[in-house]
Symmetry: C2
Subunit: 452 residues, 2 copies
Amino acid sequence: MTDLFCDTAMLGAGWATGVRIAIDATGSITAINANADPRGAERVAGAVIPGMPNLHSHAFQRAMAGLAERAGPGGDSFWTWREVMYGFVRRLGPEQVEAIAAQLYVEMAKAGYTAVAEFHYLHHQPDGSAYADPAELSLRVIEAARRAGIGITHLPVLYRHGGFGAKPAAEGQRRFLNDADRFLGIVERLRLVYADIHDVRIGMAPHSLRATSPELLADAIAGLERMDRSAPIHIHIAEQAKEVDECVAWSGARPVAWLLDHMPVGARWCLVHATHMVDAEVVNLARTGAVAGLCPTTEANLGDGLFALPAYLAAHGSLGIGSDSHISVSPIEELRWLEYGQRLARRERNVATTVASPHVGAELYRLALAGGAQAVARPVGSLAPGQRADLVVLDPDHPSLAGRSGDTLLDAFVFAGNTSPVRHVMAGGRWIVRDGRHAHEDAVADAYRRTV
Amino acid sequence: MTDLFCDTAMLGAGWATGVRIAIDATGSITAINANADPRGAERVAGAVIPGMPNLHSHAFQRAMAGLAERAGPGGDSFWTWREVMYGFVRRLGPEQVEAIAAQLYVEMAKAGYTAVAEFHYLHHQPDGSAYADPAELSLRVIEAARRAGIGITHLPVLYRHGGFGAKPAAEGQRRFLNDADRFLGIVERLRLVYADIHDVRIGMAPHSLRATSPELLADAIAGLERMDRSAPIHIHIAEQAKEVDECVAWSGARPVAWLLDHMPVGARWCLVHATHMVDAEVVNLARTGAVAGLCPTTEANLGDGLFALPAYLAAHGSLGIGSDSHISVSPIEELRWLEYGQRLARRERNVATTVASPHVGAELYRLALAGGAQAVARPVGSLAPGQRADLVVLDPDHPSLAGRSGDTLLDAFVFAGNTSPVRHVMAGGRWIVRDGRHAHEDAVADAYRRTV
């Protein structure tokens, strides 16, 4: 019902000029043609690229950004950060959760993220009892995404234990806990509510090996498969060296190796972080076709370590990016520092090159589109018939893009400058950002400030 | 002649409320009082912090940002990047140099940099012969800074050789080359032209040990001292491991060790990068009182390596930040990734804490203000009588700063979000950025785009 016409657009591995994109009333692309007739189409000035899926988000953590950048007594680590986070979690009600998520998703839209996979582990009241609707907080978060206009793949989190070997959960974890039945009830309810909504997909996320058990994992996966055999499954894995040591003490195997040996890991899986792998794990993970969910800004903020990027790319592994704790909300900062971390460690330049392209920025952007689309398990990540109309228009007047085109333009988008050239953003066929502004940004920001 | 009044301002290591800042007609602060009377003053909404000095810039490289992010045949490194840069340099005339520098300095102002130290090595015509005015390109760059309204410490670069042991310079370096007399002539001319201008300071920059020789260094320093015994001296040092190896082969000593042993390094010196130091060099450098000029985004982009930050802070070393190649122009990205690089390498959080403050963002900002001010050798970097009125007003409505105050506000400024909360910027007593816009930004960007 809408036709767009732009001078240049990224189609697959290349670029086309004079591109006309036909979009139907449901928000999907029905046709896309190069060297097309512009008459009757809405003209868009600037290069058009697919919007980026954000494959890992804990929405409520947006409101913590900047609060934990101080040293505590006795050193500081991921684990002391987690205590700050638990203290924060205790105080959030449904309205706060929704206000924070709406602010976050508006920021995502403005940064060029058009879809998110929300790894949602805040389910219950502060004392651990269920809300009247057990899916209350999930519904709040999904509605926040719908208000912001971005697509959401909602992943209720299965969390039951406080450590490997089914250790009891701690006080600060009460709001997260479910057994398999209660958990599957939430998944089922959400699937029912959003059955006919294009831009919402329901999957699941076992939190981690330490927060589940082999039996619980197997039960939950079997329960999900009875509902939807292609629903995405995400899991945190091998983020911290301590977690690797504990997994080895528990099972004799490292986390990624254990998971690949005991669970049906395949293309519908996203292994979030996968920071600490030995060479065999890198190759074996790549072979499964699962996505590595990389979160460079959060992994740096938390001192996790660097992903084995060169070996994983050499093994043709799939990857995408997530803003995770939302210390930053920018696909550019994620991609740039994914590459820069490698450059610093290896003391060379342009590490993330593949045979596909010598352009590192363009290649990283394409890799993250493909892996991100796979992880959100929705038809996004490229401009083609049958895909959702999720796209970003880059500002042709932005000085950092002056004189750049094609893959060199994408290199400049990723690596040059620190002000965003994202000008307009469309998701599901609707303009959600025009001239850098989101239609609801003032109202959403007001509600957010009141919450904080 | 102007009085400002703000609700809160960063004064030294703390914060004050109800602050009135009196500024004279020359652009210097004459008085500053807390809990003051606002009547008759210009009211400023938002927290006021000192503007950041940018201690290392090669202005013309701004126009290359994003062009070298592709792999060449046979691998890629700092040294292949340098070949791209030399090819770019061949084509620049005075007008292009000025247009690029003006764009860069406007971007600096908008990002919250209120002063720059320009390490200027592009002196001559493409064939190496002097312009009619031998300081032509320096004058162009300084005028660009004055148009943007930021203070500039201009450092003509002494460059004569192509490698350690006085190797002949290469073809691509002809525009940089000077002997001591020609070099000192440029310094003298610039000192004369800008003798009475508050916001311009002239120093000098021997490019590096590999591009100079001990005799040339001694002659240039002696020549400078005859003109100005407190003028700043900046030098690139120990950026790349290869350079360290070549220095050892040439002299038997590592670059920083050689410099400290043979030159009068003290508080007026800035050692740019100083990436590769052994423990004794770290401690000895800190003892001299010189500034370490750190450029985290460029050092990451070029795969240089990580500075020895924890040991240097433990030795009470002085440091500041520079945007160097301008792949990014943001004090936030420099400070954030200075800390994050350490977190990734050490797998812990909040590395850059000192006894002064547990707030890592606030502490890094203060350290970089002090070291940056020392490196630009002008009265900037704090809000106090006698200092230039160089300041930044943070947007009180920015969601990332909501609910934050004092040092927690600075932590959020440095670590949270990816959109700049810099709202207004004053340099030398003049508002150069209001509501995120620079008065000349459109005209400057037009000229820049025509150039590129």
